[in-house]
Subunit: 503 residues, 3 copies
């Protein structure tokens, strides 16, 4: 793996070695290696752009690309893939991408043979910031393990804290999450962390408590716009703003060796009197950013790969769990669907039949001339009631099978031939779902409204309970979210069809 | 000639040698030559800018200038000439210019001693794009002669197809023009091509016909805004959009060796499934752009000149065709103008006298105290009726002579001295008209509303029928267009004067 | 001194040596020295940016930073100090700054260890432009001394003429100021010049008079927006525009060796026919800008310092002028303030007591529990009436002392202990006032509304009459302006307090 698209992509060994390289460059200087770095900044960032640019220049490299979206071709409706492929053809050696959509860096990496560095994709992540943050902690304390690290401020939208939190999964540190409730860390990120480390995190709104206890205070800014636009919202913001502010006075209660970090720019979340204290390390972070990024580019151009923390999905399973055929004859049982040859979807939860029917595209199939019997609710020995659907002369496609399983865990599939059930099984999901599920995020690179023409891809991390993870943005979703994501567009469609009188 | 301002500027030998250089650089690499390229992009273009930038960097050159108009001084009212002269003084070796006005590159070239490359001037041309397009065809087929080349999409506004069409004048290829009627190729461009080659072109709206027959499918995008903003316009657009779309399915009917080209960026005029086929060469074009432009800059900096396809205007003619003086005495003939010494403009078409009168600025002359007899319609032996104008004590300036000839082909000039006609002639136009005629285009660099302070210049390509060609934008105009261009501002002026009660 | 923040910073020796270096580079070429120039352009300027960029590139240096404010972090509320410190950490060797606020370059220089070049700060100054202007005059005439130099056009807002005027303080030249009244040179700039040189200046609206007499015509543009937006204002503008226009025709009355200069871009204040004359030197200025700036950067990177024209404030004085204690007992004198221990501020001008009271923050002090007797007007032997203020148990802080002196020249301070005056004195201002006074300019980097978190600093150039000079923007203020600056926010505050019912 050569791409740096997510802090979750780095193993402990990757981070150790990268930080070591960064510190070495800081000590010994940056070597001149030549080549070309292309920086495609679909979103402005003086700071990150300047840092990569300085690193590239000091590496003796050419810098191409664009520093802000105003000068890109995006406005003309070009996809990220087409834009970045252009620079690959211009003989770039490495592409750095910043984008307002989550997963954009992954989309770029999938389109290119040259390595891609994620310089921030929406609120999703900012892995090189995290790497320089870790370098700074390591430089200060000689270790990251064993340290108490508090992330403060906007933990809901802040990509720097999201990436840092993910990276800390490979360290033995203690994480404090300090934020107003309105911008607290998403639960799934906490769950990811706990699952990976087996550790708890401290969640608090009390900055003073953190200041008195931790080794690292990682500050971010709480934006006014996160609060409701009301008098109360305003007053809540002012309170939060003050509560989440680090001042020299507050720091008098800290350990002498506590360090204050900040990805910058800051407004007033760290008062200027802190700059003069020994605690302030945010300008050192800026400096370390130069060396870390130079080390990273150097490493990539040397062809050194990251081992990564790949998802371990295990072997691809059999895509079906066979069930015993108790009564082979089906045709006579319910005359209403008279199924001599075809598929009987059985044991669907009562009332969910119509969802399955639409989800599997059976309305369209029916309109194309296939005889499909719409869902009926009938009695079930095992469940009391159940919905069933019959499709004459057809078996389920792999995609339909996946959709059925996602929608109805207990549904069984019966393939009937000559009136006899030949085959009866529960669907088992494959390890990778391609083109089945749409990520429910709005600012996501796979969202069709951004016309990126990407095929969605999800990894099935767990089957029971269901947990899938988006290939592009790395977000995990449980069964409830998956079902919501599946039915939302469907409900729109059913509603639209109803209005057109199709049903 | 060192400037690359128009595809019409390149001879066959120029193109052959440039393409050869480009292919050589692609094979052997780009040499490091040093120096400075200035890129003045008065209009944004990520793609073209990136390509020139990459070429310059890989040539080991400095890159200066500005990538978009937002950062230029244009907003402060500075002329192109002043802006580009600045960079010449900063010691640029070559200037690349992109501008929203036709003829801007020529204007820049006229102001500078250093060579100028046109990177696109309005819908007028984009010669380096054409050169890389030709390089791509040549690379694929080993030749451009004998190939069937279809240009598809927006042939009215697309500068890339305009330049390509012009360049194809020096090849023995067959041109297909495939477009919806609303954006078809301007007739004068077709006429230019036919005149230069003696060949016909295929004009069609049927993309499938082209796909089945041609070797090269050169795609461009038809914009929604080209169609009327009505329900019908919308429906026409949707139809055209689909008709002009190239898909993998449609290409199944093409020759195996057909290549699909596109200047990029594309939206959906080429569907993404085409990318995977052997036909797709648009990303190769991107790559070839790098090498072609590097070859071009290298060639220019080596001092190699293009031979060009200069207009052959022949020798400068005598500016008058003498006529026989049949009756020398003029003063007694028509007492009304009693012309003892001065100019009698005779044989003006009936009713056109007033136009000539104003066009030659005779109102102003009269107001300055010169005795000018306004046009009178009198009997003519040869024409039945004719208009005549008498100017006491004055002869026509060269500019007035040109204007007279452009306005009235049959007018004769009589210079009278002592009541006797001493001289009688028809005006013959010189090869070059300077400051006589205003190009009627709106988005033209010589349009006074853009305050570029340029003197217009037209070449007289043909006197009978009249055809003049604008030095800046290269557009040819016939007699009707010339007269319309002459009288439009005049009519405005006459109207304004009438309103002020001047007549 | 390594920073180039103001034309007032350069001594004659500095300018002579810098111009010599510039002319040498023009003759011998620009050496390649390496390193990094960071250009932070918080305001767009193609021309100045291009010039520095070309200079840096030809010096073999890397160029980083941002060319316009759109791509800076300013929008996110970051201070200039934080932004420029970032680039210092990226290992820049020299920082060039352009900013819309006066004093911004000084603020940057104060925050950095690396040298800073001012590339224009509001209407305040543009020292490198001045240096290249002087180089151009010197190159043409071999000297600047003895020349008659006319600055023409907008002398109120034009930073180039402001810097040039300041620099001419070290030459023996004659200055003509030619402008419409509405944009005439600020009086304080004229006073500064006169004080420094002992010379008079010619002030006129008659451009022709200047053209007939001077050696150098330094043109700038008068903007339409400087005139009132009325019919009369429009007509005044048109008149001024014509009056301040230099044409080839007007120049026929000039000395043959007269040179026309312009910082560019020009619109029509110099007509294009002047370009062809021997007088036109504005494009030579562009060229000289390249070499001057290269020489400047080279000099800075070589560690050569400017000697500067530092303010000579003399030795720091005793901060008090002791007065004779005529009657030591105070407590019994006016029972109303019963001051046994504390400070009696005496001899305040009648009616000014309340201003002093608020200015010294005594309302706040009183609210914090200190017994403060608000100003009373009582009889005075010396002045008839006077205001007095008593503060129990407190002495004045240094800042309060300065404020008292600035507000009331004649006030005396009495420190009372045990009912006896132990100490009686007039305050003497220190050489430097820190955090005492706010610069009254609107577009000033210290204006709190721009949130730069800077402590104001003023130099006391003269005590009688009072003249202080702003460290950041270099503007001098007299006693009236200082008092206005002090009371303006105070009056706001008093008004606000009154409205809240605090008084």
């Amino acid at each position: 793996m050569r791409d740096v698209n997510s802090a979750r992509n780095c193993s402990r060994r990757d981070l150790d070695s990268l930080i070591k390289d960064g510190l070495k460059m800081k000590r010994d200087g940056i070597p001149r290696i030549g080549g070309t770095v292309t920086m495609t900044f679909f979103e402005k960032s003086t700071r990150t752009h300047g840092s990569f640019e300085a690193a590239a220049q000091q590496l003796g490299m050419h810098v191409t690309g664009f520093p802000d979206p105003e000068s890109s071709s995006v406005g003309k409706g070009e996809t990220i893939a087409d834009t970045v492929r252009m620079y690959e053809r211009y003989r770039a050696d490495v592409l750095v991408i910043r984008h307002p959509l989550a997963g954009a860096a992954q989309a770029a990496a999938d389109s290119l043979d040259i390595p891609v560095i994620n310089a921030g994709d929406s609120d999703n992540g900012h892995p090189t910031q995290t790497e320089l943050d870790l370098m700074t902690i390591q430089e200060k304390f000689g270790t990251i393990d064993g340290k108490k690290i508090a992330m403060v401020g906007d933990l809901l939208y802040g990509r720097t804290v999201h990436s840092l939190f993910q990276a800390l999964e490979v360290y033995d540190s203690d994480v404090w999450l300090v934020s107003p409730d309105v911008v607290k860390m998403p639960q799934w990120r906490i769950d990811d962390y706990k699952r990976a480390t087996g550790r708890e995190v401290v969640i608090t709104e009390d900055l003073m408590d953190a200041i008195r206890n931790v080794d690292v205070l990682y500050m971010t800014r709480v934006q006014r716009e996160r609060f409701p636009d009301t008098a109360e919202g305003n007053s809540d913001f002012i309170k939060a703003d003050r509560a989440m502010q680090t001042t020299a006075k507050k720091l008098r209660e800290a350990k002498p060796e506590l360090i204050v970090m900040h990805p910058l720019p800051r407004v007033n979340e760290i008062t200027r009197d802190v700059d003069e204290t020994e605690h302030a390390l945010y300008f050192t972070e800026v400096e370390n950013g130069l060396f870390l990024r130079a080390a990273l580019i150097n490493r990539i151009l040397n062809g050194e790969e990251f081992e990564g923390r790949n998802l371990d999905l295990g072997e691809e399973p059999e895509l079906r769990q066979d069930l015993e055929i108790t009564n082979g004859a089906k045709s006579g049982r319910h005359l209403i669907y008279r199924l001599n040859n075809g598929t009987l979807i059985d044991h669907i939860e009562e009332g969910k039949g119509m969802i399955v029917y639409h989800l599997l595209g059976l309305t369209e199939l029916k309109k194309s001339g296939v005889s499909v019997v719409p869902p009926m609710t009938i009695n079930s020995k095992r469940y009391g009631k159940k919905d069933v659907i019959a499709i004459h002369g057809h078996q389920l496609s792999p995609q339909q099978s996946c959709l059925l399983k996602l929608a109805s865990d207990r549904a069984t599939v019966n393939y009937i031939n000559g009136g006899i059930v030949k085959d009866k099984f529960n669907v088992v999901l494959p390890n990778v779902l391609e083109g089945v599920l749409q990520c429910p995020r709005d600012k996501d690179v796979t969202n069709p409204k951004y016309s990126q023409h990407l095929t969605s891809r999800f990894y099935v991390e767990s089957r029971n309970p269901l947990r899938v993870r988006d290939h592009f943005c790395g977000t995990p979703y449980g069964v409830e979210e998956v079902r919501k994501a599946l039915t939302a567009p469907l409900l729109e469609k059913i509603k639209a069809n109803l209005e057109k009188g199709f049903l």
